[in-house]
Point group: C2
Chain length 698, copies 2
């Protein structure tokens, strides 16, 4: 299957990367490319791009590349002379002599004719000629008008693009079960259905899928114009007695189908208001069936380099987005702005704040910070004597504190006094910032005892001078590298806020506080079993398709799993996670490495079930379920990423209700039962007989 | 539960009907009402409105009423002086002295203040005062501006309507488990969920549901503007190994939820692009999961009387719609026109042809006639001698024929010659219209033998003079009252067309041929078991919620079940049924009568499963499943009707493909398997154990 030797792959990949991002100068594009290479993308100084040499044969480009400027159907005569960046599937080329070749480049929007000329000291023509058809490539070039006689009445049919450089984004297998450009030999239907992600790349089929989208939107718009409201009705209802046969429906989300769809190239940007199923007990205010605004985009990228201004915090929050998937971010922000503008009459800021996971955990002790009130957590390690700092360092820990100032007008002042030591979580120690209060605390602190601190005036003075006298403080230690969704002090912060709200002292402005949280750890130690911990087993923090940050790829291949950050992003509103997504792995060998080497088989251990209902850790059997995805990646999958917004939760916030049941026409109880339709109900023995099953014990 | 005596009910119902439709003159409305009473709605001369006195206490109005002119939130100051028709839920009234009362009338769009004044010889005030709150009523009246001080900044808050007459459409129970207008005593959540159709009538909740619809459409529109395509992904996929728990999902459509939704009043017009499930073997080109454009509308009516011009056939087709649900018809025609205009650039006619079921069966031998070619079937009974006609009458049969003229240019001429007697269905006799041909036929005809015809020249001459010599003719007998979806001659007609198409002689113009088929028999004899036939058991032709034509209600209560026509409509395109719907029964006592008296229990007989996955015939257990629907009808359900359009089939026609698999992103095979996701797959014993079930035999 691997028709290319690793050496040949490297020959195509590496020079092109260098050329694309470093070599060319004097154009806007190359400035952008250079900025990418020199600034934000080189933040982690320890990893330079050329050192990314994974141990497995890499066949995909995982480092940054310039954002496409147009899709393959967009260029017109008036664009002649422009420098452009295009991405798409490479179709079989045609040579015209030794120094010239033509390649159609296609995507869901059309086909652009590429012209590649051999030049001295430039291997572009030789390199691109070796790329298998159906690979995804990104090219830079200049638009030329085609000679009058060669113009075609199709999108982009009047122009061609003279290629100046190209990047092989994802190499396709040389032997594909279906050749999407071959309109004369359409394979039999069984083959077409088995490899649907290739069949969907055929124009005959992808035209239908897009027409379907068009018609459904015309129908919806027409119905809204006629005064209709769209209402979602339940799917999970009682068995109809003696009705037609039924289906055992897995807990599901459209995660895999949507990635296969984008891999097919049938559509450039997919969305669905998708009904999802999940069966979880005891989760308050969750529904077994729920709706997501689910979307996925091909060709996501790092975008233009973040302007320096965005990295300067505004109101304490940065706007700097250092991972891929900028197109997803832009679309979601535009969508949220549109909804709030049209429904609430509120104009939201153009850019939402962006916080790394590490920052969110440090400042708010939560991966979904509620930033409607301050009360930030502070790292107080440095206040303590050097010996204590050394001991903390040895343990890989730090000391952090939450301080409530006893100031006039502070909404937390009274709340802080209401909270007694026995009301706070174990491990958090409470003190009054007075001579006596600190002395009391030092005399009784288990924390200090553990760290070997003796009752000294130095520490006491340092605390009082750092925060001033008269206030209240909570202190605890935690691991330097944050883990999980919240810290004890983060939960305590929310408790203080809740008490202040109950007392009527804390009121939030109606203005919604949106926030992105990014750069999560890609993997989480499977810590539910100490034995496994010892063996260093890992699970995916979100799901196994999330791509690592490109700066951390080498760490992943080197086994420094705990240091790898993912290109994952959560959208948080008022302290509630309303959506999450990621840039996906589009590199089959990387995906296989993650399945096989990182997510090692972990038998008989019930793991956290992600929202996506995909197991974070995989057995061999489970990996087999992803074979079609792996194959789709090998057939020229474009870089892609997406997100899912919890529509029920979003609506609950818009409707200012606490319960999502108030925004669902026919909801279920928190126990998952439907009191209106009396569902679920026992299936009769007759019904079960149809499925050849019977209750255990019968 | 029946707080009204039948006499009291009649007192409210009947005078109002008469007043509404007959008494008032001199306004446009009363002209419309009179036309309704006198023309199209009195087609069936045997039934006059006043004779509709069902044996069960009727609590709902089932006869025609004028169409509402505005919804309850639509009227403004500038409408002052207009005569209007409004429909809605009656809220608790307030008397101002003995001769004046105010009633708020509400619907999903707002609340209009009604003013009712007592007048001599007019019981309107007394009658309306006796109507329980939450009943649905239709009023006629005149818009007045409210005094400046009483105006409210809400929809319709500047005006009030002086009531001139009212119709009690559906009386609500006097004791409702939830009082939707009581904003101070919101019941506990269990009660709210159990009677969701009443809870949804509360403004607090219905506002949310409509806001949800608004936001989902903004989101969709925004995504389309950003170049996204909506693609539906499969729900029926393989069990994820060790994933979260799964659900046994019944074959389903949103039929019951959507009726409950409309009964609630939360929305006036519901739609959903709804995913439906169905498990049927051996149906070619069907999918176990499929999508419908599903809609339902409150307050559907007979509309303004059909202009005489519509009843004059154009190109052989009438445009006359004689049943209720005109609003559904209008919306669907507008929607289809919009789709064809925007997607195909084709302008469709303003009115689609309408054909009764009886006419479709007589002319085309099909309830979904393909009218792209003529070749109509002819009733030839009258050509035969009177003795034969008498025998046919005795049998309740007729003779019908299909004739292909052997004329130059006829696309069927060669096809007709290709068809041999052994290729036609049993019971159809073939002859050449020549002396010899007719003689041959008469000598061998089983049909004539059965009818006792001797070989005579009279019949022979009559045939030849009726059709002319030289042509080809097929003849058969059938029941005078058509049954089922097609007749033998109707199927034969399609065969002749298929042969002509194969020969390349028959080509259809690309112009789509839309057609409504209406006035289906409401009930079908359950003929799959001769014993039951003898007992006269009936099943619903479509589903048990379809309303009878109002002219046939008395026949239904009189037990003349076979004569009852339903307010059902099918939309047919090029001979394919692409949608169907009906006006629903909104009268609880009628619905109970249909369940109990017409659809008698029929045990252990596997019946035709309707597209709606609702059993046409019902056991007691099955009836219990509809208890919540019956209760919803008793809580003031408005008259309503809807339709579902098969979106996959519609798209297949728009995409000019034979298979709906070509318009579904991830389809299943005709055997219902998914070759991409390898679904369905066996569930492991472990998985089954979670549900306390195991395979039979283990």
């Amino acid at each position: 299957m691997y028709g290319f030797s690793p050496a040949a792959t490297a020959r195509i990949l590496l020079p092109v990367i260098r050329r694309t991002t470093l070599r060319r100068t004097g154009t806007n594009l190359s400035i952008a490319a250079r900025s990418i290479a020199n600034s934000s993308f080189h933040r982690d100084e320890g990893v330079s791009r050329s050192s990314v040499t994974p141990p497995l044969p890499s066949r995909a480009h995982n480092a940054p590349y310039p954002t496409r400027t147009h899709n393959c159907g967009a260029l017109r005569l008036e664009d002649a002379g422009s420098k452009v960046v295009l991405a798409g599937w490479l179709c079989p080329g045609r040579k015209a002599g030794k120094k010239l070749a033509f390649f159609p480049l296609k995507d869901a929007n059309g086909i652009t004719q590429l012209v590649v000329q051999a030049r001295d000291n430039d291997s572009t023509l030789a390199d691109i000629w070796e790329v298998p058809s159906e690979s995804t490539v990104l090219i830079e070039g200049v638009v030329n008008a085609r000679p009058q006689s060669q113009r075609r009445p199709v999108p982009a049919g009047d122009i061609e693009v003279q290629v100046t450089s190209f990047t092989l984004l994802n190499r396709a297998d040389t032997e594909l079960p279906i050749i999407p450009t071959d309109v004369f030999n359409v394979p039999n239907e069984e083959l077409r259905l088995r490899y649907r992600y290739l069949d969907l790349r055929r124009a005959a089929l992808s035209d239908n899928i897009r027409k379907r989208s068009q018609v459904s939107h015309i129908a919806r718009t027409g119905l809204h114009e006629h005064g209709f409201d769209e209402v979602e009705t339940p799917m999970l209802l009682k068995s109809s007695p003696e009705g037609a046969r039924e289906f055992l429906v897995p807990t599901r989300s459209p995660q895999q189908p949507k990635q296969l769809l984008i891999a097919s190239g049938a559509v450039d940007r997919y969305y669905q208001l998708a009904r999802c199923f999940r069966d979880e007990d005891g989760r308050k205010d969750r529904q077994p069936e729920f709706t997501q605004i689910d979307l996925e985009m091909a060709w996501v990228s790092w975008g233009p380099p973040t302007p320096v201004s965005d990295s300067i915090p505004v109101d304490g929050f940065s706007r700097e987005w250092r991972i891929g998937g900028t197109e997803v971010k832009d679309v979601i922000e535009a969508l949220i702005r549109k909804i709030w503008h049209q429904v609430e009459g509120v104009t939201l800021p153009t850019l939402f704040p962006v916080m790394t996971y590490a920052e969110a955990m440090a400042r708010y002790g939560s991966d979904k910070p509620d930033t409607r009130f301050g009360l930030e957590i502070q790292d107080v390690t440095k206040i303590f004597p050097e010996a204590v700092q050394a001991e903390l360092l040895r343990r890989g820990e730090l000391l952090e504190a939450l301080v409530v100032k006893r100031e006039e007008g502070s909404p937390f002042r009274v709340a802080a006094d209401e909270i007694r030591q026995d009301m706070v979580e174990e491990g958090i120690e409470q003190m009054d910032l007075t001579r006596g209060g600190v002395a009391d605390w030092m005399a009784n602190s288990a924390l200090l005892r553990e760290l070997g601190v003796i009752h000294d005036n130095v520490t006491s003075n340092a605390l009082l001078s750092a925060f001033g006298e008269g206030h209240r403080l909570w202190l605890t230690s935690r691991k330097r590298t944050a883990e999980g969704g919240s810290t004890p002090l983060g939960r305590h912060r929310l408790n203080v806020s809740a008490v202040a709200q109950q007392l009527g002292h804390l009121k939030f402005s109606p203005e919604p506080r949106f926030l992105w949280v990014t750069e999560f750890p890609l993997f989480t130690r499977a810590d539910s079993d100490k034995d496994f911990l010892a063996h260093g087993r890992w699970s995916s923090s979100h799901h196994p398709f999330t791509a690592p940050m490109w700066e951390d790829i080498e760490k992943m291949y080197d086994g420094r799993i705990n240091e790898v950050r993912g290109q994952h992003y959560d959208l948080v509103l008022n302290g509630v996670e309303i959506g999450g997504g990621s840039v996906r792995v589009h590199d089959a060998s990387m995906q296989e490495y993650i399945f096989s080497k990182v997510l090692q088989p972990l038998q008989r251990l019930r793991l956290l079930i992600t929202m996506l209902a995909l197991l974070p850790q995989l057995t061999d059997d489970e990996k087999a379920c992803f074979n079609h995805l792996l194959h789709a990646l090998r057939c020229g999958a474009p870089p892609h990423g997406g997100i899912a917004i919890g529509f029920d939760r979003l609506m609950a916030i818009l409707c200012k209700t606490e319960s999502i049941r108030d925004v669902i026409a026919f909801p279920k109880t928190s126990a998952g039962t439907d009191l209106l339709f009396n569902s679920p109900a026992p299936a009769s023995a007759d019904v079960l007989q149809q499925y050849n099953i019977r209750p255990v014990g019968n």
